[in-house]
Symmetry: D2
Subunit: 138 residues, 4 copies
């Protein structure tokens, strides 16, 4: 299943090069994941209240064309792996007006309890696992 | 007692106006408070481990001259009020090289327990209160 | 005229107190101003392309109730003064779900040319001045 | 040549997981590069004044152990490639107190003129090229 998250660039996301600072794309990936979880009916805020943390293990980002203040960007988000232990995503960031591919990236995650110990979602939360699996395959 | 905190501007603190984004001065005030607490021997990280939170109730900032990437800034920090319930600070931000006064600000704070309930430090932590009072008057 | 800007809290806007970090409200005020300019048909990105900068001269913010990840916030935005030289705003930040008033603030601005020299919009851009005046009074 | 940049974690760099938000490591890498350029006598602020931009083409980061507020971190920085057209770095982030390796990363960069056109530093700025080459090999 493919999700598309979009919004405008904020002024404070620019730097003196006159473009969006590169660190913000990493934040946009997070915004897109949050959007995905909300879309499939398992808001991350509620997962954390249940004691589930989904930290980032790895992230990478390739910058092809700058995004600027005044632009609307779209983050296309694909799940490339989900097995209840690891979760990986791929991202394509487009300039909405021009369709230009501006950035590609990926991230990998695990599932932790509040005490920072990893767990297998399939065993610990089978209902949530099924819901996520279905959405990721969809 | 007067404290002076200083560091260089980071590139990611600039915006496309070519100057430090105004929101960062609010963060510099926080850095300066953290430095103050460390200087007087009560690091804020340890206060939080004890269950003491010092949230911001009010903050204001007046922008006189821009600070830019490449500049070193100094935050002069004064305590204008401390009584164990409220804590207020005044800030002057200087350009270190030119001595120019770039920003003035102030902030006000209270003391909360982890459960977000306010408390009187004089009663709850008399030793810490004395230490802070002494440093604030010094 | 009253404008209302709203969006969800981003995860990266929280701090370890478990609430939105106070510096982000200053950024939300900016987002709300950008939204206002877009709504009245003078996007700030286009103003900057024309060589008009609208820096912040003063900002203040009062924190009444925390906003948290999972919340949607609304920034109610009023223009309290506009004369082509100065522009001031007042902000009320609400929790959309509860209606609770979480933050109030204000900011003041001037108009600068790219070379950082102030100008009077009424004289330099009478058409833009009329459009802004009408929207501010509306 | 190996460079080591260090500083304390700022409170606003934490998130509600109680650890430094993952996007900040990308910013720390930038701080470390700025430090490196300053150490070798070619401050990046001065390069930009000359019209030289060094944007990020790629960045990646692997998160091994969290860094927290109260920690001092060290960024060990190696240049893995420099030829006047491309510049790549590797980063190791340590917890200074424990020596624990918390994060590894890398980034790749090119050299652009103000008009966003790439150039070969060896041809355009032979003196600067020699200085950088010497420092990178050193």
């Amino acid at each position: 299943m493919k999700f598309v998250y979009e919004r405008q660039v904020f002024y404070y996301e620019t730097d003196q090069m006159g473009i969006v600072h590169h660190s913000n794309y990493i934040r946009w990936f997070e915004e897109a994941r949050t959007y995905l979880l909300e879309q499939i009916g398992i808001p991350y805020a509620e997962m954390e209240k249940e004691g589930i943390l989904i930290p980032v293990l790895e992230v990478s980002s390739e910058y092809r064309h700058p995004v600027r203040f005044g632009d609307v960007f779209c983050v296309e988000l694909f799940c490339s792996r989900f097995n209840g232990i690891r979760w990986t995503f791929e991202y394509n960031v487009y300039n909405k007006a021009t369709g230009e591919l501006c950035n590609t990236g990926n991230s990998s995650h695990c599932f932790l309890k509040r005490d920072m110990r990893p767990f297998n979602m399939k065993k610990a939360y089978p209902g949530m696992y099924e819901k996520l699996m279905k959405a990721m395959e969809g």
